[in-house]
Amino acid sequence: MFKAFAKGLSITLKYLAPGNTTTVQYPKERCEIAPRFRGQHRLVPTTDREKCVACYLCPTVCPAKCITVESAENEKGEKYPKVYEIDMLRCIFCGYCVEACPIEAIEMTDKYELANYKREQFIFDKERLLKS
């Protein structure tokens, strides 16, 4: 019995030793983010506009129905998203939008600190998504 007791405690002690702890002292310390982590979205910009062409595949595939797109025609006659909004409160970060995008115009970043004070602030519009 004592032997088993010692064995168990040894594991505990092992994790007490420096360098072996799993607790991270957030926000002083931060976890390492996996390369395929699905954080807050980002719209990819090009030189003069967003890469997105408002094909409506992301709002169509989105299971949480949190993406709002409204397409329009710009001065050059190109299709562009006049409105592109993601409601982060509804988003489930499944990444289907990224997968559906035919031109890789939307990505998921490693940002996960999305807390905010007001509901409206969780709605990310096009400008905010482009900057992030």
Binding site: A54, C55, Y56, T60, S71, E73, K79, P102
Partner: protein
Amino acid sequence: MVNLTIDGKQVTVSKDATIYEAAKQAGIYIPVLCYAKKLLPYGACRVCLVEVEQMKGRLIPSCTTPVTEGMVVTTMSDEIRKVRKTVLEFLLVNHVVDCPVCDKGGECDLQELTYEYEVVTNRFEGEKFDLPTDEVNPLIERNMNRCVLCGKCVRVCDEIVGYGSYSFINRGFETKIATAFDRGLNCEFCGQCVSMCPVGAILPRPFKFKARPWQLKEVDTVCGYCGNGCTITLGTKDNEVQTIRFNDETGVNDGNLCIRGRFGYSYVNSADKLTSPMVRRDGQLVEASWDEAIQAVSDGFKAAGDSLGIISGARLTNEELFLLKNYSKALGTENLDHSGGECYKGVTEGLQETLGIKASTATFPQVEKCDAILSIRSDFYETHPVFGMVVNQAIRRNEAKLTVVADKLGKFTKLPNARTLLHKPALELNIINAICSVLLEEGLAKTDGLEGLDDLKKGLKKFTAKAVAKETGVDEEAIKQTARELAAAENAAILLAYGLPYTAYSKELGIAAANLSLLTGIAGRQGSGLYLCGEKANSQGAIDLGILPGAKGIGAQQMLDDASTGKLKALYMVGEDPIASYPNRGMVEKAMDNAFLVVQDLFLTETAAKADVVLPAVSFAEKDGTFTNAERRIQKVRKGIKSKGDAKSDFEILQLLLSAAGKDAPATTTDAFAALTAETSGYEGITLDMLGKQGYVWGTDILKPVTSKLVAVGGGEASKSKYQLLVGSALYHSGTVSTKAKGPNAVVSEAYIEVCREDAAELKLEEGDLLKLKAEGGELKAKVKVDRRLPQGVMFAPYHFSAMELNRVYTGQPVIAVEPVK
């Protein structure tokens, strides 16, 4: 019938079917790009290749190969799959894959086939097309980089529409679809090519980047414009009609539409539509609640007593008209009428007097099988464009002989082998009389059992072909030939359209056409028919439901006349804008000023602006009900979007008015339909369930005449003036509502006076110049449109545009004598 085996399944089809059609009938799927049900087989895309046991060694295109007895067909094998995939690879060599920005994405035939055949790589290399897109016109956008050269647009424009905008140009890899001289598209913009294109090469421009096909909710309803009664499918999203979708499953129009039906929907979403009732207080129209407005209407009508007139439009549903009729009874007035009163008299009085019926005798699809067709006065390609396409089918598929009695040329006169009896304005009656007299003279007439033959013979004495030919300027032999063709034809049709701009001789023309149909035996004969087609979506319904003056009542013109002199105290206008569209504007305006006026309409029209109470109504896309089209087909109108603001459907408004008058009203449109069928002659026993995809034709396909009475009618009188003005409707518009729609307005947005080349040269006028015309009653001013279709001395002006004030000089006369002012 022919028996064959497709994929092991025994199929029996008619002997003129193709393998593709046989497979479709058996429920076996064969992919196609260039096939369309209504077009002739073409075989351009090579996607529908199949194997036929009897023709081993090569693959057979199923859409062009007729079936033969004992044929054994295989529609799928490894080889077929390989070949079809190769065909798709070839197509994708040049096709730009811009599906994310292409509006066709999601319903593109090429996209679907590419997905089905898993064409993920391409073994062939080639340059992608980089042709300029055609975005010159406001309605149809062409991007030839996406074209797969199926030729459907070329064929539909030629075979169905009869316009011929497109053709293939160049050779080999350079082949493309182009317009004349490869310029921007400039046609009548019916958009048939848009509906046919299997890819995104031809798209509706008003719908550009608006939505994806899968986001749209589709609602089948009936077009709210003309009496043709085409079924349309609304594509709705965000409580707006975004576009009109292609649908050849419902109705009898095979998915064919004209510019009005396909592009004239935007008024439904208009922000200018009335959203609140208005009541006049201290001389100003101010917004009011429904209770206040209904109270004001009830009080006003009570004060007027039986000195009240009700004029309705012909775009109300049958149910609404039924309620309106009940309301008129509740108010105790028989002064009830629709559509200006005069124009429909050919049906209600002309046909009633001769044939004892008040409707066309046959249905539209029968015209396709006709051998001889006589079109009187109007060019159906302009008033009822889709019926025009049916006539075109009869000519092309059945070699029908078309005769057009007209005072101006038009698209009908350009059809193959069309004979035009181009007469001096106002003399169409004389020509029909002459045709009748030729029939009698040459012993071609079928006179058995006809009443009034002697009277007719007497009446026709002065209308010999020779005399009429001289009087009207038409070739004598052509008149005789027409009579002979009509008499000899196994199936024949006589067409006559009526509407607000054609009020003159309306009854007489109805009688003359009926005489001719009796003498030729067309009326009531299987396969033949006499068609009197109303201008508006429910013109026939209004007649069927008796929106007509009662025995003691007066008609629309008399009501307005009386109101203008103060004899009639109150007027109730339901969906009509008489100031803009009725003849004799001066009198109408006076009537509107004098009477206690209630207007129920979509917009604050000129008439509504003079009203004491304005009740906001809703468009056809916002209500349920039924329309009866010009061939007596009752079809369902379905609600696509919710009404905006406080506007209510005419049905709901009339319910309120009826309960204010202390009467019961049917609770729903379904109840109203049940009630109206019980009371309307011809509608007995019809239930809503009987209105299937093709609607329901009351009185069966052939409506037999009740009486066969010939009635002699006199002729018209030509004007001696050097310059004469004709009033009519133009292709791009229908009534006055279409002038509030962006599509038709994008092509024709303002009034014009059409002048022939010779006159233009003589008057030193060029396209776009301002022409002033002096006529009795006032002056007209509009831009000139120079054309080749008018005879010298004859000018034409459409009546749709109120700003021109054409109805100041148009008071219902057949032709207006005018004088150009320098």
